[in-house]
Amino acid sequence: MFDIDWMSLALPFAYISVLGGSLFTFSTIYRKRKATQSANLEPWFPPHLQRNIYLSLLHLEPEAGQEKAPKVPDSVIRAALLRRAVEDIRRIIQIRTSKAALNTLLQRGSVGDDLNQRFLRAEKEIEEELRDVVSEANALAPGWGQVIFQSANEIAANTALRSRLEEIEAKTESEKQWWEKRRETIQKDFMKELDEDATKDSTKGASDDDGVLVDATTPASTPGKKKKGGKK
């Protein structure tokens, strides 16, 4: 009674299997592409040079013709770890300062989701990195893990301050030369004007002009006329 006519059902079954198959392939390919895309997202930070140096020192290759790798003294390892911590501090500061700005931009829809993905990954990476540095520091010297980032923070801040001060000090020479030239021209102008005044023998506007020009040249002739008292 229930005699199924398989032959006539073949067509619908074929239709369903083709549909299911195509949907499945589409979804796998789509997901795979998305995964590679997010894996290929550009990292937020450039390669961590200090970390590479530190790890390279730990895994130093033996030189050609020698069997054993050269022994790296602990002090060098410690210095390399400290440099690595300093770089980490710089990265943390960058992450913290850009976080608020990025969130606002994201809410407004001004930046894409890719950027957020990259940022979140960088944040997670830096957290791992910090934990790693602390454990390495504790392994190198007991208790160093608690203070290494304090030291690194000061080192980062000090280097920034010093480079700013050096930049400003570097201007001294050019400023000095500029002022020398400027003073000469002022003096020349002044002399010329004096000559003109003498030949013209006029009084018109001369007093006003002189007043200004004398002001500009007094520093050269009377050093230390004005002092502001009180030193620290």
């Binding site: 390669p47 961590h48 790890l55 410690r78 203070v147 001060l165 001294t172 200004v212 002001d215 004005k226």
Partner: protein
């Protein structure tokens, strides 16, 4: 992609005698990083702490602070006696000492000390009439300590005025007033600068009239 479990092996060598790390790679960033590393290593070797690990930033070793204070005091003494060139020298030595502090010592301290020394050196330069140097030193002082440093703001302003850079001076002093919240000396200087700018304008106009007429 930077993975946490992998790293790039760099071609590094270490000198067995000097313990200096070097590389065969021509990369300039790597080279500079290694010079920094070697400098830090040498600095760490001078430490007397156990394991030669930098101590926490606080407390500070008082030896250097005392030396810097002494140099500043001798600079101040020379300044009072009117020997400004010697004062500049002493302040310069003090600055050198303040800026060569070990990098892991608190930067706040470095800022305080160098700000005071730069400001004092600026004053000595001003007394000598070398306005260009004074202006630069005062700017450095402000860079080291932006707030609570009205003297340095005033000194650079004054130097700029003396060099005839009135526009620049006005901008600088106005910024200083913003930071220092209406310091009396700065206000006086601002009025002075404005008066000078006014005068300059009048002079130019009268010159123009004189030429056309």
């Amino acid at each position: 992609m930077s993975d946490l479990d992998t790293f790039t092996l760099l071609p590094l060598q270490i000198d067995p005698q000097t313990k200096a790390v070097s590389t065969s790679s021509p990369s300039r960033t790597l080279q500079t990083e290694l010079t920094h590393l070697n400098a830090l290593h040498r600095a760490l070797l001078t430490l007397e702490t156990p394991n030669q690990v930098p101590p926490p930033p606080i407390p500070v070793n008082p030896k250097r602070s005392a030396n810097i204070g002494k140099l500043r005091d001798s600079g101040n003494a020379e300044h009072r006696k009117g020997r400004y060139a010697d004062a500049v020298k002493f302040y310069g030595l003090g600055l050198q000492m303040a800026l060569t502090r070990a990098p892991w010592e608190p930067q706040q301290l470095v800022r305080e000390e160098s700000a005071a020394l730069y400001a004092n050196r600026a004053q000595a330069h001003m007394a000598l009439g070398s306005w260009a140097e004074g202006a630069v030193d005062a700017e450095a002082s402000v860079e080291a300590k932006r707030v609570g440093n009205p003297k340095a703001w005033w000194r650079r302003g004054k130097c700029l005025v003396e060099m005839g850079r009135l526009g620049e001076a006005r901008e600088w002093v106005a910024r200083g007033l913003e930071m220092e919240g209406g310091d009396a000396d700065l206000l006086a200087l601002l009025r002075d600068v404005d008066a000078r700018i006014e005068k300059e304008k009048e002079r130019e106009e009268s010159e123009k009239k004189g030429k056309s007429g």
